[in-house]
Amino acid sequence: MILKLAYLNLFRNKRRALSTGLAICIGFVGLNLLGAYIYRVKKALDTTSVYSALHGHVKIFKQDSLVQFALKPKKFIFQKNEIDQIEQIFSEFPEIEYTGKNINRAGLLSNGKISHPILFYSFEPTIYARSLTQPDITNWAKDWVLPSQFKNVEIFKNNNDVMSVTPKIADIMSLKYPLNENESLQLAGRSLDGDLNAVNLELGAEHTTGLQFLEDTLVLVPLAKVQELLGTDGAESISVYLKPNTPLAEFKKSLDQKLDGLAFKVDSYNYYDEKINAVYLGTIGFLVVMGAFFVFLIGTAVSLTIVNSLTMGIIERTREIGTLYAVGFKKREVIKLFIYENIILCGLAILVGVVLSFLFASLVNSLDIRFTPPSVTGKIQFRLVWNFTIALTVAAFTLTLTLISSFIVMKNKSKIKLIDLLNDSGA
């Protein structure tokens, strides 16, 4: 009965209910879309970190290698027999889909006339191909990967000497397009023994780092070529790519336990670890701060609207509240009545909001709006990914907000003396 009365009361002042409902609805849609945006960016970051950046889900180094490898590569590189031992451990984990080896070093890229200092990241053509064809890449980060990168998959398969450059480096090295028509470049660098060495590299593939400050610095070189340059058959790190839906924390824990049994000490990192992926944390941190700011703004606006409309509702119905007290309603029952009213309103607003945000997200996505975020190269699609969990979380948040706002108003208003409620001549 209280519920029914609450529902009926909702339609007494239709305009106010509509405007309050609209405020809640817009708040919900706003938060939902914000959530959708952040969710999408996070997913894209996850995907590119794991697959495009070839970090894998978990990356294994020799202990302290992150700091020491550049200075003492000979000591901190995994030797072939050590890799074999680690791979032996991998074979005990069915949740591993595949693994890849990496070496990242600094060097000079030369075209016979000028040399340009670069960082080179190694890749194994088969692993690169496998990573770029992951469904997650297509789902989440298609626009974060150059279309030409997908072509690389074929190029790398066919020619083991082909490196990948960024458009910016192609410009610096005066390369012509198509890239494969250029003469080979030379990559010079220090071997593990400390001697200068250089290897020939064929052109033909292109990638983007997605980050302005790396765009003129980072090239991808086949692992075999890097090993030739360094005079080694080892690797600096090993990336572990997991099957979909593998719980990462549990996997890493049991992997670490097994790795502890090795004769040499290793460090393992999650793909989002600040130590190997500072950009990830930076971007997520920014999004969280931005998100929190908007949540605060929207939350305050919605909350104030509810407080206002509820206060108006109570003033209008003062005598009615008195009547309810007179026939035996208790304070909490009257509070319940008003809170129910707002919860119903909020629920309706959320229902409409779900539909609206879904439509809006579809509209935005179909418009294919592209933009360049700060410190990122290339255009990224402004894409909103509607997600049930986010909608549910936001709905719960909106409801809680409604509940708290209503409760605060009712707690204050119910302090009015009963007799004054009945004597009120209003409405």
């Binding site: 009965m1 209280i2 029914k4 009365l5 009926l8 009361n9 339609f11 007494r12 005598r319 009615e320 008195g322 009547t323 309810l324 007290y325 007179a326 026939v327 035996g328 309603f329 208790k330 304070k331 029952e333 003396k417 009963l418 007799i419 009945l422």
Partner: protein
């Protein structure tokens, strides 16, 4: 006969603007079960204050108020709510119906917060109360579709649906034309006779006074004469 209301030496004052009004000054009064008593007095004599105290809508400054031998002062707010719900029915001058609810629902309201009453029982009680006030044909009407007399009858039905020990009425006929007022008085008297309900109401209405078995006159916060 048993006292439904027993008021002993009650004082009540309240603030009206900057002046303190001593509404009740040591008033004592008993109302017996089955009585049909009218409270009369000039405006400002303390009528409404007394009625509010009896209805547990307000607290006395001093003195004792007993409803069916229960000390009202000792009750918590929730207990007073229960007392009002179970022992007292209210009829207001301006009916105080809930506009969004229909006749049936308005009458049903006091029963909805009673957990011990089953749905069927509740329905039977509501229909019986509506029958008593002659509105069984109007169950689905909303208050704004009814005349003033009909509305007050709904309010009476709401007051008696809980079968209270006492029905308090504050100027129940003041907003009605004289013909309708007579009908309402008839109805109240009939309920008093037929169902032995105790009525205590304040009024200015001469018509009403002439038909009442007991008239209590209040002046300057005390009972002046009976």
């Amino acid at each position: 006969m048993q006292n439904v209301v027993d008021i002993k030496n009650v004082f009540k004052s309240y603030q009206l603007g900057s002046t303190e009004v001593h509404a009740l000054r040591g008033l004592s009064l008993q109302i017996k079960k089955g009585e049909f008593a009218a409270l009369i007095g000039a405006s400002g004599s303390g009528k409404t204050t007394l009625l509010n105290l009896v209805g547990c809508l307000d607290n006395a400054d001093r003195g004792d108020i007993l409803i069916e031998n229960v000390h009202v002062q000792d009750l918590s707010e929730d207990e007073k709510s229960d007392l009002r719900n179970q022992k007292i029915g209210f009829i207001f001058q301006s009916f105080n119906l809930i506009p969004v609810l229909n006749v049936y629902e308005n009458v049903e309201i006091p029963l909805t917060i009673r957990t011990e009453v089953s749905a069927e029982e509740r329905k039977a009680k509501v229909l019986s109360a509506l029958k008593d006030v002659g509105l069984e044909e109007f169950v689905h009407h909303r208050p704004d579709q009814l005349s003033g007399g009909q509305r007050q009858r709904v309010a009476i039905a709401r007051a008696l649906v809980t079968e209270p020990s006492l029905i308090l009425a504050d100027e129940p006929t003041a907003n009605l034309d004289s013909k309708t007022a007579h009908h309402i008085i008839d109805l109240m008297l009939e309920l008093n006779k037929k169902r032995h309900m105790t009525f205590f109401f304040c009024t200015h209405d001469e018509k009403l006074m002439s038909r009442v078995e007991r008239i209590v006159k209040i002046k300057d916060g005390v009972i002046e004469q009976e």
